[in-house]
Amino acid sequence: MRLAEAWRVALDALRANRMRSALTMLGVIIGVASVVLLVAIGTGTKQKVEQQVEGLGSNLLLVVPGKLDVGTAPVVSPLDLKDVDAVSRVVGDPGRVAVTIASGATARAGTRSDFTTVQGVLETTPAVFTRSLARGRYLTGADVDTSRRVAVLGASVARALFPDRDPLGQQVTLAGVRFRVIGVFTPLGQSLGVDRDDEVHIPVTAAQRLWGTQRIDGIAVKAPDRERIDQLGERIVAELSRRHPDTEFSAVTQQQILGVLGDILGVLTGVLAAIAGISLLVGGVGVSNIMLVSVRERTREIGLRKAVGARPRDIGVQFLLEAVLLTSIGGLTGMALGVGTALLVDAVSPIPAAITWWSLALAFGVSAAVGIVFGVVPAQRAGRLDPVVALRAE
């Protein structure tokens, strides 16, 4: 019953000073909204990256020279196509082995040009990485064997070079050498701000001739099943180490890549949320400030309540509830604002945003906690007021 009275009084106090209450809440609203929004963007980005890594194809094993560790220098690859044959023997199925040798190059068609990434690949790439074509066909084994100068364009490159023509059968010039367009990929979209459709695939043999090298950058293997993927990786690394004793090799799975990316994005999300949390803290200071004003303003009321029998705690609870109400209403409004903005950002911008229930619960809980933390001092001050002094206050 005393609590009910405290609620009534707290609500009444907020209503009596609508403008002031609203402005005080604004600090909390902005804080909570930014926490919700930034966590949503962080979560959305993480989800999208995970989708894309998983979208590369399941049970993928990437074999690269060097140690896959943060801070280690890239290693010049000693791998060549004979190593690919060796790996295919280990795997037992050449159709599950893909390679890449990539370099930036300018693609030209007529008067148009586009700087893009040219990848030298095997005909196995679509099967290993789960790629599909919008038009035409992909490279064949014959294309690779004969170093045929044919190219499959990413959707962006196709758009840039042939905005108003069908690219199929047209010529593109890559590093001064002409290639014939035989296919166009289905668009993949963006990932972490990188356009994944900005690429051109040509036979790995043609690429090696183009750049005057026998090397390849890395090998990708689609493992037959998830259970033996690590074991397969170890066998491949052992075989490559035997062939190149001077070089270390690493085999990483999608799960490992996801783990690393997830860690990085998790830290990023945490940092963003912490920065937003600072604004929530500032909002809390505002609440504390306004509560002190409220206590001072209502000193006589406090004195009267004490005279008629309110205990220090009754008064304290009343003001604490006022502070918590202030931040809770602010928190709910901020949540609504944050969710709304996140949905808007997700809908109209390339930045992904995903609302998670835990972030909403956390934001609301934190805002209520801010009310308690920043309401305690003013509430205690009110509770300890000397009734005689309080009654005399102006």
């Binding site: 019953m1 005393r2 009910a4 009275e5 009444d12 009596a16 006589r300 009321e301 004195g303 009267l304 309540r305 004490k306 005279a307 008629v308 029998g309 309110a310 205990r311 220090p312 705690r313 009754d314 000397d386 009734p387 005689v388 009654l391």
Partner: protein, 289 residues
């Protein structure tokens, strides 16, 4: 048989202001019996307000012994003292001290909130009390919709809704015109007579004080006189009462409105000095030396 509502023995109160001790009360002894009608009179700065705060449990003495409703104030924690105020004391202030934006009935019900009475019962009792002070038709009005006299009546109803032993009124007519003030005084006296609540009225106005049966004059933190009058003086004859001279108890023609002083229940609880004899009060430990 009567039990003292409030008993003060050699009570003093000293304020510390910037390291300087300022004595407001310098050893006051008095007993308020149940149902008494007492006026405390003194000029500003005399210590009468301090005395009222002490008698009402709003403040604690720095010396002496103060017993309110049978409980020694010195032994009580702040929450216990608050509960004691709630149960034993009703306050009426010069400035009314009503909560704004709160209806008359909710203002009156406020003390019951801190007693833990349910909302419905609170309203019923508050409404009944407002009826007794003649405001049964103003239950839903807010203070700013009421006249000064009506506001003070609401405050009186609030003071009495808990059925306290003592009603402390601090200059209850100070903010009212004389006619309204007169009506408020009559109401207080009537409630004092009807309900047996002791009425202690602090005032600087000799005419107001003259209405009380017992008059305590305070000056410089001490009780200068504490006299009992068989019949109250008429307030209207314009003859001021001096403070330090013991007021005469000569009978005068009582005015027609003559408020009833407590006729029953407190018969023996009168005395001529600071320490009133209590009619066989059992629990007066160590009070009178």
């Amino acid at each position: 048989m009567t039990v003292a509502a409030v008993e003060a023995v050699d009570v003093s109160r000293t304020y510390e202001l910037d390291g300087v001790s300022v004595p407001a009360l310098r050893g006051v002894s008095l007993t308020i019996a149940q149902g008494e009608y007492v006026a405390v009179i003194g000029p500003s700065g005399s210590g009468k307000s301090t005395l009222m705060h002490l008698l009402g449990g709003l403040d604690r003495p720095t010396g002496g012994r103060l017993v309110i409703g049978g409980r020694d104030v010195a032994t009580l924690t702040a929450p216990e003292l608050a509960t004691l105020r709630n149960e034993t004391i009703g306050f009426v202030f010069q400035a009314f001290h009503l909560l704004p934006r709160t209806s008359a009935v909710d203002n009156v019900a406020l003390p019951l909130v801190y007693r833990g009475v349910g909302a419905r019962q609170r309203r019923e009792r508050a409404a009944a009390m407002l009826g007794r002070v003649g405001l049964g038709h103003r239950l839903g009005h807010r203070p700013n919709q009421l006249s000064g006299g009506e506001q003070q009546r609401v405050a009186i109803a609030r003071a009495l809704v808990t059925d306290p032993a003592v009603l402390l009124a601090d200059e209850p007519t100070g903010n009212l015109d004389s006619a309204t003030g007169e009506a408020v005084l009559e109401l207080l006296e009537q409630l004092n007579a009807e309900s047996g609540v002791a009425l202690v009225m602090v005032t600087h106005d000799p005419e107001v004080a003259a209405r009380a049966r017992r008059r305590i004059a305070v000056r410089d933190g001490l009780i200068r006189s504490d006299t009992v009058h068989d019949r109250p003086l008429s307030g209207g004859d314009g003859r001021p009462e001096t403070l330090d001279a013991a007021p005469s108890a000569e009978p005068r023609s009582a005015s027609g409105s003559g408020p009833g002083h407590p006729s029953g229940g407190s018969g023996g609880a009168t005395g001529a000095t600071g320490r009133l004899p209590r009619g066989g009060g059992p629990g007066a430990p160590g009070g009178a030396g």
